[in-house]
Each structure stands twice: as C-alpha cells, then as structure tokens.
Amino acid sequence: MDGQPQSKDFSVKFTMDEAQPRVLDRMAQGLLGTAMDRPEGRMKVTGTAPYAAEYRREGLVHGMLVRSTITRGRVTGIDTEKVQSMDGVIAVMTGGPLVRNPAQGTAHEAPAQSLPEVFYVGQPVALVVAESFEQARHAAQALTVTYDRADGADVDPATASDTETPEDDVLSQGDIDTAMKEAAFAVDTRYTTPPHSSAAMEPHASVASWTDGRLELHGSYQMLRHNVAELADALGVDEADVRIHSPYVGGGFGAKLGIAPEAVAAAHAARELGRPVSVVLTRPQVFEMTMRRSETTQRLRLGSDAEGRLTALGHEDWVSNLPGEAFAEPTAQGTHFLYGGDNRYFAQTLARVHRPCAGSVRAPGEAVGMIALECAMDELAEATGIDPIDLRLRNLPETHPENGLPYSERGLGDCLRDGAAKFGWDTRKPAGTRLEGDWWVGMGVASAVRVNALMNSTARVTLNPDGTALCETDMTDIGTGSYAILTQIVGEMLGLDASQIEVRLGDSDLPKSSGSGGSWGAQSCGSAVFLAAQGIRKALAEKLGVAADDLTLKDGTVTSGNVQHGFADLIDSPLTCEGTLNPGDTADAFSIAGYGAHFAEVGVHRDTGEVRVRRMLGVFSIGRVLNEKTASSQCHGGMIWGIGSALTEEIMHDPSDGRIVNHNLAEYHLPVSLDVPDLDVVLLEDTRDDEANPIQAKGIGELGIAGAAGAIGNAIYNACGVRVRDFPATPDKIFPHLPETD
C-alpha cells in the first residue's frame, strides 16, 4: 500500500466529539452558500420530474383502500362477492399485513397491524384491486363492510378516561408555586392549539412490484433507511429484499417520515397477485390515514421580579394519541432552554383517544409550544410594562437553565435587535391605539427556536479523471434543497463547477443517510458528503506528497505550491470515498439549537375581526448558510405555516365519533397566495456553529415556523387589544371583544 490510499473504495469515519475547524471557509471554489438555482429545477418546472404515482409498470393494476366508518370495534364481514363481479375487479384484501396507521418517524419497525380491530374512523380496513383506477375506486365505494361496534370509545382528550403523565417528563426545579406567589409580576395563562395536517400537495402514493422475491417500491418517503426496515417488518421479509425509490417527494412535512398504509397495501397486493400494484391515497384518506399534529392545551406560568427577570417558568401541556402509539407532541421542547428562571415546572399529559394517529408535523413541539410561550411572554411584557424585545433580551440565560450546559452559537439577541431595527419596531404604538381606516393595526414579536440534532449519515463521492463527480446517498429532497446543497458541498471541496456534479438521491440501495426530517438532513447528510470529499482531497494530496491543506482545488484544477495539475494528471480511474458521520460528545456537552426572531404587522378589521397579515420579517441564525436561495425559501415556508396556524388551520373532529369533519382542502384552510404578504427574511451573515457538525450548519426547515404564529397573535393584541388564547384566531374569537369605534 506504501501509505497511499488505493484509487477506490476507501472510507472516512468521523464522530463529532469536539468543535471543528472551519475547513469549508478555506476552500476556493466560491460555490457553497451562494444562491445557486436548484439543479433539478428544470425537471420540476417542465413536469418531467417523476413523483411516486407516476411510475408505470407492465401489467400495472390499481388498488384503492377502503376506510372504516366506525370509531372502535371489529370488522366482522366484507362482502367480497358483490364487488368481485364488478368490471375489472381483481381482488379484495383485508387483514394480513395491512397497517392501522403510519410508522412514527425513525420507528424502524412496522406500525400496528390491528385488523380486524378498528381504532378510528378512517382506518384502512380493506384494499380493492382492479384493472383501472376508475374500476378500483367504484368497487371500493361499493364494498359493504360490517362491523361489531364497541360503544363509548373516548374521542375527546378533555374527557378521556385513559391518560398518562409520565414521571420521566416531569421536571420540577426549585419551587414554582412559591416563586409565583412572591413574583413582582405573574402570568398564569392557558392556550389551546387545534390539530393540524401536513397536507403535502402530493398525496401518499406507492407503486410496488416484486422481481425474484425482491420488492421494488416507488414511494414518497423522507427516511428510506427506516422505511425499508418498517416495510420489511410489515411484510415479514428481510430488509435486503426491499428497495425503495423516492427521488422526488411532493412535500413531506413529517407526513412521509414513516411507512404509511398505502405502501404496505401496494406491496402486499403486488406479492399476492404477482402483478405490479399502485395505491394512491385520496385527499380525504391523506387526512385520515396519515399523521395529524395533536391538539394541545398548554398552561404557562411566568413570574418575574420588578425588572422583568424571570424567577418562575412553568409549561404544562395536554396532548393526545391513539392507544399504543409512543409519540407524544413534545410541546415544551423549546421552553426548556430558551429563557431563564430558577423555579421551573414541566409536565405532560397524554390522553388516549380514538382519533386519527398523531405524529410529527413540521417542527413537532416548537410549532405549537412556541405559540403559547411567546404569547405568554407578551402577556408578561404587558403586565410589566417592559418592551417585549427588551423583556426577551433580559431573560436569555448564560447557560442552559436546567442542566448548566453552555450554548453553542446562539444568535437570538442579534436576531431580536437587528430585526427590531429593520422592522421599525420603535414606531409600534400601545395596544388598541392605531386605527387606520377600517383597520386596527399592530405589531408583534416572537423568538424562534428549534432544537438541532445530528444523525448518523453515510454518503459516497466519486471523482472522475475528467473532472466530473458523482455524489450518492439514500438522502431525500422533499423540497428542502438537498440536490442543490449537496452539489455545492462537493463543488466547494473538490473545486468543481456545479455543472460537473451529479447528485443521486432517493434510492435505498445507496449509502444510508439520516434522511429528511427533524431539520437534521442538510447538516447530517451534508457532513457525510463533506467527509467523503475531504477523503478525496487527502488522497489527491498524498499523490502529490503534500498536506491536504496545501492544495487549492478550483475550476477543475489542483494547485499545490505553484504547480497546477488537471485531475487526469493525478488519477487514471475514478476515485471513490465513502464518508460517515456520527454524532458525538458535542451533542451532550452543548445546548445546540437554531434561533431567530419573528416580526409581524397585522390589520384587524374593526367590524368583522378579520385579520390580515400586512408584513412579516424573520431574522434567523442558523450557522453556515449552505444555499442562500433554498435556505430563505425554507424560511418563507415556515413563516407561512405560521400564518396558517395563527389564522386558519384547524382539523375539526366530530365530537360524537372523532372523525375528521373537514378532511379536504376546501375545508382545511391552508394559506393561499392572497393570505401571504411579501415576506422579508434575513439570515445572519458569517454565522458558524463549530460544535454542531464539521460543516458548521444548522437546520432551517422547521425554525421558520417556530414562533411565527406567536408573533401574529401578539400583533393582533397590539392592534386591537384582544388577546386570543385559542388558536386559530378566527374572526368569531375577536369581533365580540373589539373596542367600540364610531
């Protein structure tokens, strides 16, 4: 070996145990961080990017799932005969591997397979397969299912008999009751948020086929390494016999983290019938059979001294899920480390109810927890008479208020200060004093915070002698910009123009990455790609007998000393390196999170109470920005989700049977273009988080939503003096309390 890596198949493993040098800052290409267009963009805008449902196989047949119409009980009969005689019908299937609901994110095992038992209205109970989509749909509608109904199932979390308050989740530090009594100012307040739907525009879809005992499934999934394990477990086969393709995902937002009913049904039917099967959920089925975000009730207790310094902070919450599901909305996650206060109390109560499954929806925890916390902080600002920004700045702790850990990069103070200046915060008026025409106008602010996690990830990079490169991983791009940022990392490290780089994603046979979710994809998978490219740089340096740091790679040339080389001078065959990143000690030694500040200006109609968002600014501190364009687009997305959760989005459950009444896009109100003003996004410049990972970047996909709705709620209060504590802030909750005007 004479000390030289062989030209192929070497690997680099790295564990994030300590702060890392800013290697990327020393690179010369100048590609990373720029507002590069997405390389796959041309495919998307011309309709040539293939999404899951669009794969066509010879002999493909169509499956349609049938939903339960009862809340709780057993399926006692399925009248197969009647539909078997309908045109084109091939089979009716029930029981077996069909799953009750999707796997929770990173579950790595099959979700509950409960048939014939039924746990909620909308649970899949059967699959009808026919030659055409129209035939399958018709037969599914015609299928008669009989049930043995169990009465009295709990559907309302407020009255559910089965509740859990896990001791592990209770945190009691100091004495909050006494601290609240002795506080100069105290706010003890309750907020509620409704269930939300991810409502990705692409409905869940799977096309399954088996060849020589191996399943190939085109699906729409976020985390392929886990999805393979979940699907294999559901079907009772080896993981090695399952391959999933998800090169394009039409939105995920958590709904596509875990394997869902349509994938298992398609794979099962394809195996039984020996034909490729496509199963696409209808929009109502997406609402019912995939994850909802739990509703929350939250009690916030904030006590402060005369100067507004917190002495007491309590955040208790009540959420729900189906029996047997391990997931509970981590409502207070961000509250634990955002603000100080010596006396603290946290507890969570989970009610078991027969509503569709609750799971991760964009920024589980902070998305709703920060609404309550940030509105409560606004209430405290009002009580103390201290400016809301000043109040927040006074309460940023030196170290984590519960475990004393130091913070890694935390730009919150700068975000609040810079944002205030940019937004014109100093022109804000006292609550209910600014009437312009028919509109009360006001401003609100909220902090943004989202925990940051690093996950095991592997990626493979190949450099070719002709100066092209290939990057391969099972990572997905769910609209987040993975294709773009991985291209940029490779280009930056190897000195290549983006046009010379191909990024191949979304195939479970490729090296296993973190997948997309929890805002950890870009940094985890990006770090693995960085490591692989760094391995290639080292190999090139060794060929030249110099240190990797002494190489300059730019525009396809390698410069060392004063000598320039082409790649073909150094390698005569492709050079491949696999990089693996593992989280390490920094995760336990530091409190690592993304931070930001939201500013909103709203108008509240003086007669109707209608709220219009007039302008919004988000300032974020996320370590290294990998692509200015895709990162700020992610922020837009989060902020607009904030508008939705502040003003319109709400899953409504029928109080008698728990079913989702508004299971469609006409009645579940996503923000539309007219609800969204031009948004202003600022990403703090030159920020780096050295403790987070070797590329110093943090997640951005979820930070943008965290706190956004709180800023809007606070702006509503500032506009008209009405404090909405039950979200969304629809006009009926506002106009009865509006001040009289003439």
Binding site: R42, A53, E202, R283, S633, L665, P671, V672
Partner: protein
C-alpha cells in the same frame, strides 16, 4: 368510449372509461404526468391546464366532455433544455420547493396573464371598467386557486412579476 383530444398540438384518439377525468386521461393513458393530482376535488389547482387557451382544473372535467378540444399541458410549454420564460423564471426565483404544485402554478399563471391582458377584473380590482394593472395583490388574488403547501407564494409572485415585466418591455420594444 372513443374521444379525440389535441394535446400540445398532437391529435390523439383515446378509448376511455366514461368515468375517466381529463386529468387521468393524461396521466394514465397518455403518459403525460406533468399535470399533477393533489386532491381530485377541484380544491388545490395542481391539475391546472389549458383547454382552448383557458385554465381549468382538469380533475373536475370528464375527458368525455372535452372531445375535440385543444389541451395544453406543462409539457407543451417547454422542455428542460428549452424552458419557457415562465418556467425559467420559476427556476431563477425559486418559485417552488418540492415542485409538486409547480406545473399547475405555471399553467395557471400563463392563463392568468392572458386574462389580465384581456382586461378581466378580479375580486381585488378597484374599478370594474378599468384595465387591471397586475399588482402583487392582483397576482396574489388571481393565483389563490393554486395551493402550495411548501408555501413558495412570495417567490411564485416574483417569478410571474418578472415575466410580466419582461413581456411588457418586449411588447413596448416591438411597438
């Protein structure tokens, strides 16, 4: 039943189940999957295409009711190596994220620009007999039938605005 559609300039005869929507005729029978299905209920706009130059939700239309019609889909606007001005603007302005609503947004925008050129008013137009100016608010209203859960709205409007301006200056130059 046999129907004839002219899709992106090509006449095709199709033998379809009468229940087949125009959207499914394209996606399942003509392998034109650029037009997306987001809801199948006329609630999201992902399936927007042009019928005889006007935008419609193709999931709400039975193929049979369009016998003889001229259909334009996203595939008819441009190709990856030869994008239309709107398509290129969406890439440049990042007027998308996951890309699933995008073909519908682009088709809708194409028709919307024509509607404005013909003087159609909208809900936010101040006076019915004025020629509407395509302000950001007008664009927002006229594009509100196309949902984008990734929430690319501000940049979708930037992309459309850039094309509005470019087309206007081309027209001026020609005059």
């Amino acid at each position: 039943m046999i129907i004839t559609l002219t899709v992106n300039g090509r006449r095709t005869e199709l033998d379809l189940d009468p229940r087949t929507t125009l959207l499914d005729a394209l996606r399942h029978h003509l392998a034109l999957t650029g037009t997306k299905k987001g809801c199948d209920h006329g609630q999201c706009g992902a399936c927007t295409l042009l019928v005889n130059g006007r935008r419609i939700n193709s999931c709400l239309a039975l193929a049979a009711s369009h016998d003889g019609d001229e259909i334009t889909t996203i595939e008819g606007l441009g190709k990856p190596e030869a994008m239309s001005d709107l398509q290129a603007a969406f890439v440049q302005h990042d007027g998308y994220q996951c890309g699933y609503c995008t073909p519908g947004q682009i088709m809708s925008a194409e028709a919307m620009l024509a509607e404005v050129a013909e003087g159609w008013p909208s809900y936010v137009t101040r006076a019915l007999d004025d020629d509407p100016t395509l302000t950001d608010e007008e664009m927002a209203e006229r594009m509100s039938g196309n949902l984008c859960r990734c929430s690319a709205y501000p940049r979708i409007r930037q992309a459309i605005g850039a094309v509005r301006d470019a087309r206007a200056s081309r027209t001026e130059a020609a005059e």
